[in-house]
């Protein structure tokens, strides 16, 4: 069997406790005692899409940020394409694209093209290679018409597509998406999911790990689903296997049965 695209083994992450007042000054030197992830292990194979499903504060973003080399784990290992995110961060970054799902993160006064070229070249694409990739991605992501407009004039949905294009410029093996439809309206979110499915996942050459609160998004995009709660990985399997294991009929029921959470009202059915 070939090397997994992502491999996470016995991963723990703790943060120092949040302090206020003058004690906040000591925070950078405090011992990390607040547990965010505990003993998390899973693998993502090449071309596979794995969803991280959990409530706010479950540890999804922490996990993605460790893989993106933005955080150091307390214990355990996180590898991308066989490279350790803590010890070999630059090699890891060569193989990953990261999209945080926010509607900022671009230079507002630069055009879409200038932004993409800048980030592409920081990922060691030559000027001509960057231009070629921008042209390819602009066509694929329907960005050609807005590429020469300043980023500050673009809509949130367009910024999201631009951000996804940025993550894919250097053709990474792994794509990490942190709540990619968080700041999109319902229609834009639907478009974005369809777009991810048809333009990236169908090609089968990029592995996807994404965090989401949105159950239809998870069902549409994920080959397998990892359910995280309180920093612990409760289950990681296909939707069919999760339903079988819990005796649930829907993903929503699977989630509620595994985590033990209960909706605050009869209408609150999503774990957001």
């Amino acid at each position: 069997m070939s090397e997994p695209a992502i491999s996470v083994v016995s991963l723990d992450k703790s943060f120092p406790p949040t302090r206020s007042g003058w004690r906040a000054f000591l925070q950078p030197f405090e011992k990390p005692t607040v547990l965010a992830l505990s003993g998390v292990s899973f693998e993502v194979q090449a071309g596979e899409a794995l969803a991280l499903l959990g409530v706010n504060g479950a540890g999804k973003s922490t996990l993605l940020r460790i893989l993106a080399t933005l955080l150091l784990p307390t214990r355990g290992s996180a590898r991308i394409a066989g490279k350790d995110a803590a010890r070999d961060a630059r090699a890891v970054r060569r193989n990953l694209g990261y999209h945080a799902g926010t509607d900022h993160g671009f230079y507002a006064r630069l055009t879409g093209r200038e932004n993409l070229r800048f980030f592409g070249q920081l990922n060691h694409l030559s000027g001509s290679a960057a231009n070629l990739r921008i042209a390819q991605l602009a066509e694929q992501f329907q960005l050609a018409d807005i590429l020469d407009r300043q980023a500050r004039t673009l809509s949130t949905g367009t910024i999201q597509r631009l951000s996804l294009a940025r993550a894919l410029l250097h053709q990474p093996r792994v794509l990490l998406l942190d709540e990619p439809t968080r700041s999109l309206d319902a229609i834009a979110a639907m478009d974005f999911r369809r777009f991810l499915k048809s333009q990236i996942l169908r090609r089968g050459d990029t592995s996807l790990l994404f965090a989401s609160h949105t159950l239809p998004e998870v069902e549409l995009l994920a080959d397998r689903i990892a359910i995280i709660d309180g920093g612990r990985l409760l289950a990681c399997d296909t939707l069919a296997a999760l339903k079988l294991r819990t005796g649930a009929a829907t993903l929503e029921e699977v989630f509620l049965r595994l985590t033990g959470h209960r909706p605050h009202s009869s209408e609150a059915v999503l774990p957001a």
Binding site: F29, L71, L72
Partner: protein, 271 residues
């Protein structure tokens, strides 16, 4: 090495492209420089006397002496401010996270982000001096430009260490620039900006010896106002390079440690 230069150039080009979208601001800075230069000229005329001219190290007018001190303050300000300002801007605009997941390292990101501000400050200083020479008789014709360039480079290296220390502080504590506060405070009294160090009491003159600004201003005034060559300014130049040799590696080590701490505490991109 070529890759490093290319990466640095990318940041310079980014900042130049952004600055080009604010063209009026450059025009306003040119006008501001005219008013600033005029102010120093009239203060100089007001206080100038034969005794004062004798007290100045290179002779000449108080206008020339104080203008060099003032424009140099701008340069020091840029050196101390640039690194943490670029870090803060990236954090606030949300680009820091995206810069950090590229294959370019954070020290290169910081150094690259400092290039355009340094170039813009050098240009602004040039505008001040040009106004001074064109309208108020600043003795630009006597400058030794090669020595001026060497002094600027040595100053930039010496102060950059302090700037990187400031950026480390900002990484950990999110606000404030203690290096700038300390250096500006110290230099306004014991650095020779607006009056010669020789008029200070002995203990302040002793303190001034540990301030890189003293050596930078001494060398800059000698090169700009008296046309001094390398042989005349080798001592302050050597001291500046010594400051750089100590401060730069120390600052980089502190910065690496601070970066690691923020990746442990999860506060790297916090504002």
């Amino acid at each position: 090495m070529i890759r490093l230069l290319r990466e640095l150039w990318l940041f310079f080009r980014r900042d130049l492209s952004i600055a080009r979208t604010y063209r009026i601001s450059f025009l306003l800075e040119i006008i501001e420089a005219l008013f600033g230069t005029a102010m120093f000229y009239y203060v100089g005329r007001f206080v100038d006397s034969p005794q004062l001219r004798q007290a100045l190290p290179q002779g000449g007018t108080y206008f020339a002496f104080s203008l060099v001190g003032f424009v140099f303050l701008d340069y020091m300000n840029a050196s101390l401010d640039t690194f943490d300002r670029s870090l803060e801007e990236a954090r606030n605009s949300g680009t820091l996270e995206h810069l950090l997941v590229t294959q370019t390292s954070l020290p290169v990101i910081l150094a690259g982000s400092a290039l355009y501000p340094f170039a813009a400050t050098t240009l602004r200083i040039g505008v001040y001096l040009a106004w001074g020479a064109l309208l108020f008789g600043f003795p630009l014709q006597s400058a030794n430009w090669l020595t001026v360039a060497a002094v600027l480079l040595a100053t930039l290296l010496a102060f950059s260490g302090l700037g990187i220390l400031s950026a480390s502080y900002l990484l950990l504590f999110k606000r404030g620039n203690p290096a700038k506060w300390f250096m500006l405070g110290l230099s306004s009294v014991a650095g020779g900006m607006l009056f010669p160090v020789s008029i200070l009491p002995d203990w302040l003159q002793f303190l001034a010896r540990f301030n890189p600004v003293t050596y930078a201003l001494e060398a800059m005034r000698a090169a700009l106002l008296a046309g001094a060559g390398f042989s005349a300014v080798w001592r302050p130049l050597a001291v500046l390079l010594l400051f750089a040799a100590i401060l730069l590696p120390a600052a980089m080590a502190v910065f690496s440690w601070a970066l690691r701490r923020t990746k442990i505490t999860g506060t790297l991109t916090h504002t």
